[in-house]
Amino acid sequence: MNAPVKIETTLKDWETDQEVRWCPGCGDYAILKAVQRTLPQLGADPAKTVFISGIGCSSRFPYYMESYGFHTIHGRAPAVATGVKLANPELDIWLVTGDGDGLSIGGNHLMHVLRRNVNMQIMLFNNEIYGLTKGQASPTSREGTRSPSSPLGSVDHPAKPAAFALGAGARFVGRGFDVSKHLPDVLKAAHAHQGAAFIEIFQNCIVYNKDVFDDFAAPKGAEDRQLWLEDGKPMLFAGETKGIALDRDALELKVVDVADGDWEAAGVLVHDVTKRQVAHMLVDMPFGPFPMALGVLYDDPRPTFESAVIAEREQASAGKEANLAKLLAKGQTWTVSGTAQDPI
């Protein structure tokens, strides 16, 4: 249902006349460009594309996209988007949210849009901080994060967005980061997926949480700590000198060395995007001992919510006449004849 007719556009066609107001150097600029670069490649129709967001730095996104857009309220974008999609399933919806908007105030709605499987792309910009409100710790902030609201360091355990999504029943989980050249590929795969496609995008907040992802997302030099997953391809990283294998005794993943490119000998797993259990292990891999799993971690579609709602409505309506006069007179009725006196 996503953009059945391919429309020819360029990156410029997707830019609005509005001045972009993110801080200079913000990772959001790179994500905006990646999206504007991807949509022409998808043949997306700006008139049928709707960007829907909540509140936060990331949620300014719709104002910069020359399409339809709805900047809603804090955390509620998934609920608004669900109503839009049910009312018009032809629309191609991109949801834009952040770690505070999507996992804190809007965690409930994010969970339900994923488990219902409403067909849309959900981009969660994770910068592990509240940016727009000037730097408080967020639900994804690492323990010990010093911020105006946690001057001695945060003490709460962070949520993992991709693990949350998978746990909520998402049928597509992808990961990328702002300046990655692979981000458009993840977006394209998400768009091709019929159903709720969740993409966690690590985004550098250069003012309040600068370079926290540098260990794997630095523009240069961090490639060895990135595990880019591809369906049907072995899970190799660090210039194919290392791979991910299954420790069959412990039933957990392990990093193995790959000698002379012989990954099979090293027991390296071949990525199968439909394997849910493996996806659970990939989103849970602790970064440090392991690389950061990026790309399409999981992709196994099932029927969408809106298609089920429409099918149910059609089935329930089949053979029934929508006659209001008959509906009003339904049930046991009686007729009064004669003349009224003093009707009120």
């Binding site: 700006p46 008139a47 009064v336 009224a340 009707p343 009120i344």
Partner: protein, 658 residues
Amino acid sequence: MANAAAATPQDGATQTAADAKAESGLDSVVVRFAGDSGDGMQLTGGQFTLSTALAGNDLATFPDFPAEIRAPQGTLFGVSAFQINFGSRAIHTAGDAPDVLVAMNPAALKTNLAALKPGGLVIADTGAFTKRNLDKAKYDSNPLEDGSLAKFDLLAFDISEKTIEAVKPFGLGNKDALRSKNMWTLGLALWMFDRPREPIHNWLKSKFAKAPDIADANIAALDAGHAYGETAELSGPQGNVFRQLHVDPVESEPGLYRTVTGAEAVSLGLVAGAQLAELPMFFGGYPITPASAILHHLARLKEFGVTTFQAEDEIAAVCAAIGASYAGQLGVTSSSGPGIALKTEAIGLGIMTELPLVIVNSQRGGPSTGLPTKTEQSDLYQAVYGRNGDAPMPVIAARSPSDAFEVAIEACRIAVEYMTPVMLLTDGYIANAAEPWKVPDPADFAPFPAEFLDTPNDGENFLPYKRDQKGARPWVKPGTPGLLHRIGGIEKHETTGNIDYSPDNHQRMTDARKNKVENIAVPDQQVALGEKTGTLAVVGWGSTYGPIHQAVRRSIAKGHSVSHIHVRHIWPLPGNLGELLMGFDHVLVPEMNTGQFKTVLRDQFLVDATPLTKTSGQPFQIAELEAAIAKYFDGIDGNEGGQVKVNEQQLPSTEVDG
């Protein structure tokens, strides 16, 4: 609605069932069925209502059930009651004190006896007055035997035993057989008031179509109760012999009738409203008492282009409705006070983005969880004022179950024509109560088709916030080529809709939103009863219509200069209302809150409106209002208005914990 010429003081508190028996044709009768929440009293009441409607009486009902789903059997707080007032004249309320009380167990007797008129009739099931049940109801001795009911008439016999006997041929165990007790009682009541049994037979057959044995057993119980009335010589301790009481059909406007509850009428009105707007309807809801019934009704009307969405919470329900409106459908959401509170931020978004949205608030009592199953009118401030920022929103209120149909249509009209959220106020009483309804013809309502913009509205340019003469901005469906734009909750430029925080723009946008709502075309206020000027105007809104109307009618009959004004359009108020009120020396505002509409009237018209308040979760009684009106004519200064006390005669019963 019906002939009201026969309204005489005889339906006042002095008439007794014994008096009534002497008459061949009764004016009106109030019957209350009370039993354990497992005894099926709401069902019994509902079926008695149907049969009464089919007999051609006007009627009003008051269902009252415990907040607990399955309260422990036999307890005082587990009593469920259903009151019906029916008559050969126009009925506007569920009645003041009952003439007849059917008590299925000791707890039901204890919690409801205070309400019964002196000389009223108690029908009791002796089979349920066991030591155990008497203990649970905190009776030291059996009231059926200790003479404590001397001032009433009493019909006490073993309904349990007679039911078991009647359904014996169907081979049910005692426990199952006793479940038909309510049908036996209903049968007796049908005999007593000369009601037809056939509609109940038909209903039982269709309800138990898959279990004909159960249907037959219930029918046998019903018929046995009826036959008992017919054949047994029923006499009470005072030696009165009970005969059938006949209540003549009411003189009603000719036409087709049915019974309707407020929740049904709102649902049907919303469907009608969407059709008149030529829009599919999207209903986002979340379960909450007493509003859920609307979700339940609409979920079965998919063939009318209705999509119902049970959301994860109240906020998602309203947000999804806003999303659907944005995409070009008529978004509707519904809840009760606590749920409306949760939706409030999103309602502000609807006001800011100027999208149509209907919000139904079935009010219940109290702050927080309050009284979920009881009625109150205490969300008026919430509806009119309860949002952050200057966030004007139209508010309209239904006065009765049948009125809710028209009011729902009106809410849809305002939402679509003015591109605004609209709040429709009903309450727990209106939602649950039933009354006869002359089935309307949809063709009698003027259509208000929604218009969608699909070409630029400013020469070559498209301006998403350029307003029409009514002050409404254009509605553009996403998917429309050439009209791409962005909307949101941030203040926006007065024509382009782009983000704009500048001081002069915010001033103009605040004014534009305010002016749009204040200039909504609202019909002039009519006087419901009485003259257009005079000594006293009794001004009501919502479900107080019935008792105010009857109280004013009686006061006029006594020669008082009093009029009833009932306001549907709470915000904006009818343009002539201020002037109308100035034509009266006094303005009394009875409300089931601490005086909220009174505040609005004072603020808007500088009128000396006096509050008459009642916040016991009980509706006003006619007699209470009549007494309040009389204080304007008693020559004593300074005793007007005030608070109406808790009323022991009324549902919900006051005695629940012994």
